[in-house]
Structures are given as C-alpha cells and as structure tokens.
Symmetry: C2
Subunit: 205 residues, 2 copies
C-alpha cells in the first residue's frame, strides 16, 4: 500500500502488528482516530503506555493486579486449599462469572509451546510447585484449554507435582448445557459418556 504519508504509514504498520488486525483494518481504525478529537488518541496512547509500563502481577497467583496480593488471593472468604491452574486473566474472569468456584487461581501466563518459543521457564510453573511443596494446597484443578499445547502443559505440571501427592483434577469436558447431541463432535460426546456423573448431580445448577 502506498500511503502518501510516512506518519500514516507508520501508524498503520504499528496497529497492524496487533493479532488479527491486517493493514486494511489498521487503516480504517487510524482514519477513525483522525476524525475524532485529539484527546481520544492521546488517551488511547496513554492508556496503552501506562498499562505496559506499570502493570503489576499478584505475587501469589500471578494474575494482573494493581496490588501486591490480588483481591482473590487476599480474600479471607476464599478456600486456600484448592488452586485452579489457568492460562490468563480471561480464564479467571470466565470462572469467576460462574459464581461456582471459591478456591484460588494460579495464572500460568501461557501454555508450553515450543513452536512459539514458550518453554516451562517462561511460565509460572516453578511458583506453583513451590506453593504445593509448602503444603497448604490440597487439590490442583487443571483448567487449560484442551489443545495440544494445553494437554502438554497439563501433563508437564502433573509430572512436576507427582512427588508431593497433591490431589489433581481436570475440569469436565462434555456437551454444553442446552446443546443437541446430534451436533456434538465425537471426542466431546465420547468423553461426556465416559465421564458420566450420578443423575442427582446432573440436576444441579
């Protein structure tokens, strides 16, 4: 694309480095900003800069948090014997929205993915092992997405935790509530038969 302006070209280049945003979309977004008051662009730039430069993570669960210990880890109401292992803050938000979980989280910050150069050292696995080693944790729940990277990561952590005889579990996979059986994929349907639950507990929630 020939932009007739280096300023415009540079802005489009930078915006199009965001995932899922191509040059055309970037140009559309940037032209939108040009039609808005200058303050909007200034606020946007400042918000991005502030977050990236000043972001802090909870020293216990590694979730994004403005305080040293996040609200969940600091809450006396949460059950500190259960730790749910998730990839990032989106998973924490999703599980919190269910209102069904009262334990703590451990945010890995990603999944093991040699293709993307993410090894176990890039994630907060060591900190999880230390937590289990310290003794208070009774159960670790694996809640990573069931992709190859997710399964690899789960298994790696599972192996690391083996010496400490902590209970491990994985979130249930099955047919979504309200979904028709005929449209479910075979793997999910197979798992939901294998991992069937007592009828009484299927009536809850």
């Amino acid at each position: 694309m020939d932009f007739s302006s280096k300023l415009l070209e540079n802005a489009v280049d930078q915006v199009s480095q965001l995932p899922g945003i191509g040059k055309r979309t970037a140009l559309r977004l940037v032209l939108h900003l040009l039609r808005q008051p200058k303050e909007q662009s200034a606020d946007l730039a400042q918000a991005i800069l502030n977050l990236r430069m000043e972001v802090r993570y909870c020293k216990s669960c590694h979730n994004i948090s403005d305080t040293e210990l996040c609200e969940i880890c600091a809450s006396p109401k949460r059950n500190k014997e259960t730790v749910c292992v998730v990839e990032d803050i989106r998973d924490v938000m999703a599980i919190e929205n269910t209102g069904q979980y009262t334990g703590l989280y451990h945010v890995l910050g990603g999944k093991i993915s040699p293709m993307d150069g993410v090894g176990p050292q890039e994630l907060t696995i060591g900190s999880l092992v230390d937590k289990v080693k310290a003794g208070e944790v009774q159960e670790v729940i694996f809640a990573l997405s069931s992709t190859m990277e997710g399964d690899t990561t789960n298994f790696y952590i599972y192996k690391q935790l083996e010496p400490y005889q902590v209970k491990t579990s994985a979130i249930a996979r099955g047919i979504s509530v309200g979904d028709e059986l005929e449209y479910a994929d075979e793997v999910t349907l197979g798992r939901s038969i294998m991992n069937r639950v007592p009828f009484e507990s299927s009536l809850k929630g």
Copy 2:
C-alpha cells in the same frame, strides 16, 4: 467485566472505543501487548500520537500528506483538468491501484450525514467549488459510494457546481468483471443495462 486492575480496565476501555472492537477483542489485544516487549507498546502509542498531532493535509486536494502539496497534486504528469471527488484516502489508494486514472483528486473527508452530525460545512466542498470557480477544472467525476449519504452528497455538490457549467460525471456502476449475471442484484443489473457501452470499449482492460 471485572478486571481486578484499573490500569487494565482503562486500557481495555480505550481500545474498545475503536470501531468494530468490542471489550473482548480489546482485552485480547491488550493481553497480547503485555506478552510483547515494552518497546512494541511504546512504538504503537508513539505512532498513534505522532499521526494525530502532526497529521497534515494537502492544501489543494485535502488528502493526508506530509508535504504542503501532495505528490499527486504536485506531479507535472497528472491531468489538472479532471478532478475525482472521493470520500477519503482509501478511495484514492484504490483508484491509484487501478493505474487507469491520470487526473487529480478532491478528498471530501466524509459524506453528508445529518444523523452523524456531518453537514456540508464539515467537508471540503467549499474548496472544491472554489477550484471549479477558478476555471482550470473541465470535469468533475463523482466517485462516492452509492449509499443514501453518498447520493445526497453527490447531489449537493452537483447543485453547487451547476452555475459554473463544468462537466460532471459519475463512475460506472454495473456487474463486476468476472461476475455471473444471475447473482447480481436487480438495481446493479438494471443500471448496467441502462448504462451499456459500445461493444468495442467493453474489450479494453
């Protein structure tokens, strides 16, 4: 959404003000930036800020340009008697890509849209009328999109130009090259029959 961090919430709020970007997408983009080096966020913020604060427009055609007169207006190779009226720089880039047009452009900066608070005064229509009044322009080509706003804008400009007896034309609407007739909408097909061209000229390009 409960973000557990004001910094994160603020960044997501700002990013989600961009058109077509909801809170979920904004969160995904912002988390991506957190996984990248700080420099990427700094460069992105700076590029947006630089563009918005320092953007300049060609004093003749009003296209975005780093120089007082854009490359197209300044080029001695361009035919200064023909002016093509477009909405924004994307249209200029699209027409330039065809390699079929050697005249100049006039970038309106939008379309008349009372619903969005855009009246003729917000656009560069006065400057176009002045250009025609000055006498060098022989033909004005309307190339706005054929929406209600586009048609309204075309007609408004057409009325403004009427006293100066300049030739006016509109880009041809019809079936796309390579498209099947049976899938074309009726309005387009109707126009392409009404505005049929001599067979010889259909063989070109």
